[in-house]
């Protein structure tokens, strides 16, 4: 007989036995050992029919093609900038992906983006060796100017955005700030000093309480 040991939204730790028997299937972040299904990460259980999956509570950001991230420039090369993506690997931003303007060969690249500045970029390519290419050409992609950057656990990014962007919409409305969320956990908030602080506090609150029910209502209460 098959048996399940956990309930929906339970917090589990790596190696914890979730279910026993062949009637259940291992989903994301779980594995099967003999007849048991075990968790691979620290996270929250999701039960959909016979499939068990875990939504991780913590973990590193893994770069994916198409993700919008916020990165920090730490080096300038002949043909572009090296940026820190808040992962184990740095990325390359080529000159031709950074601006639509024609850049002369002898032009000083620090005049365009200096070391230490942040950029909002899209990941265009990730090789098997984890060489990352990013691009600043596209809607809403730009150099970070003004406002403040904050960092959260990248696993909480979906919570900050919310279902169909509901949470981020709430934050923008209540604080009057413009908010850009990078998939790597860096968030750019810009508005008045008071609004930025309010938004920062709310985002930290979401990060801390993301596993609780009724998160949107709680955030609403915090912002009012």
């Amino acid at each position: 007989m098959s048996e399940v040991f956990v309930a929906e939204r339970d917090v589990v730790i790596p190696g914890e036995k979730l279910a026993d028997g062949m009637d259940f299937l291992p989903g994301e972040n779980t594995y099967r050992d003999n007849s048991g299904i075990y968790s691979r990460v620290l996270g929250i259980v999701g039960l959909s029919g016979r499939v068990l999956k875990i939504t991780p509570l913590a973990g590193p950001y893994v770069p994916r093609i198409g993700d919008r991230i916020i990165a920090k420039v730490f080096d300038i090369t002949m043909s572009g900038w090296r940026v820190d993506t808040n992962t184990a690997y740095s990325a390359l931003l080529n000159v031709r992906d950074a601006t639509t303007r024609f850049i002369k060969k002898e032009e000083d690249l620090t005049q365009i983006i200096a070391i230490g500045e942040y950029v909002v970029v899209n990941i265009t390519n990730v090789t098997s060796q984890n060489l990352i290419d990013v691009s600043m050409r596209g809607p809403d992609l730009c150099k970070v100017e003004g406002g403040r950057i904050m960092s959260i656990n990248s696993m909480k990014v979906p919570r900050v955005i919310g279902k169909a962007g509901s949470m981020i919409q709430l934050l923008k409305e209540k604080t009057g700030c413009d908010i850009t969320v990078g998939q790597n956990g860096l968030i750019w908030v810009r508005g008045t000093a008071e609004g930025e602080y309010k938004a920062e506090r709310a985002i930290k609150f979401i990060e801390a309480k993301s596993h609780l029910d009724g998160l949107t209502e709680r955030v609403q209460a915090l912002l009012n």
Binding site: G147, R148, S151, A193, Y197
Partner: protein, 264 residues
């Protein structure tokens, strides 16, 4: 990855504002002190100042006296910045920041003659008590100087001498009621200059945006015993005057916190 918002911090500082909406001369709250966190130390304290957490421990031992001060004991201060407390710190020998932290705290206590070292003497020219204060950062969220100074003094206040038998062997498992002879209580206050404005209790990001700083050690009567200047830009005489006024005012605030948590 430490997030720095230098331009924003500088821009706000110009208008007398801060990222977390604190006043320029306002400490993070709550500040709390936990005592006797280590059972092997003779005295220990943990200071929590916002997100910054620092612990300090006091060890007492009987050593041979120094040749030039045969009737005095001694004090040494060590600081260790754990790699776990900030992504900037590495394990290994102490770096420049750890050395500076230890020296600033040491100077505050030593130069104010805070401890009556003559009372630590057991047998002139032969044996005396020596105090070792160890400061360890648990989480560096800025303003380690002030937090460490507070922790060191709290640990010294709570320290009790261990039992010594007739042969002079120390029994560290049992403590007497004898306190360390503290005569003055110097507390360091670090005032930073950011974009021409003075502020206290900075976060890490704010420290990165600061141009210069002055750590002032002063006792309950406002007597200044130690100074330490840091940063790249100079401070004018007028600015130093302002800084000293701020430091004396803020040290009495920190002293209030110390008195609240630790009995003198």
């Amino acid at each position: 990855m430490i997030i720095i918002n230098t331009e924003t911090i500088k821009g706000l500082a110009k208008d007398g504002k801060r990222m977390d909406l604190r006043g320029m001369l306002e400490y993070r709250s709550p500040i709390s002190i936990d005592l006797d966190i280590s059972f092997t130390a003779e005295g220990s304290a943990k200071v929590t100042m916002g997100d910054t957490v620092v612990i300090a421990g006091v060890k007492l031992s009987i050593e041979k006296t120094y040749g030039d001060t045969p009737d005095e004991g001694g004090i040494t201060v060590n600081a260790e910045l754990l790699p776990l407390s900030s992504s900037e710190y590495e394990s290994g020998p102490p770096g420049i920041k750890a050395v500076e932290l230890a020296r600033v705290i040491d100077r505050g206590i030593r130069e104010s003659k805070a401890i009556d070292l003559k009372k630590l003497c057991v047998k002139p020219g032969e044996k005396a008590w020596f105090i070792t204060v160890d400061i360890i950062s648990i989480n560096d969220a800025g303003n380690l100087f002030d937090a460490a100074g507070l922790a060191a003094l709290a640990a010294l206040r709570t320290a009790r001498f261990p039992v010594v038998d007739e042969k002079g062997v120390i029994d560290y498992k049992h403590k007497t009621d004898v306190k360390i002879p503290i005569v003055k209580e110097p507390l360091p206050v670090t005032v930073y200059k950011v974009n021409g404005q003075l502020m206290v209790d900075l976060t890490v990001a704010e420290e990165k945006a600061a141009e210069s700083r002055l750590t002032v050690g002063c006792d309950a009567h406002g007597v200044i015993s130690a100074l330490q200047k840091g940063g790249t830009t100079p401070l004018s005489a007028v600015e130093i005057g302002h800084i000293l006024d701020i430091a004396i005012e803020k040290s009495s605030f920190l002293r209030g916190v110390l008195d609240k948590f630790v009995k003198a």
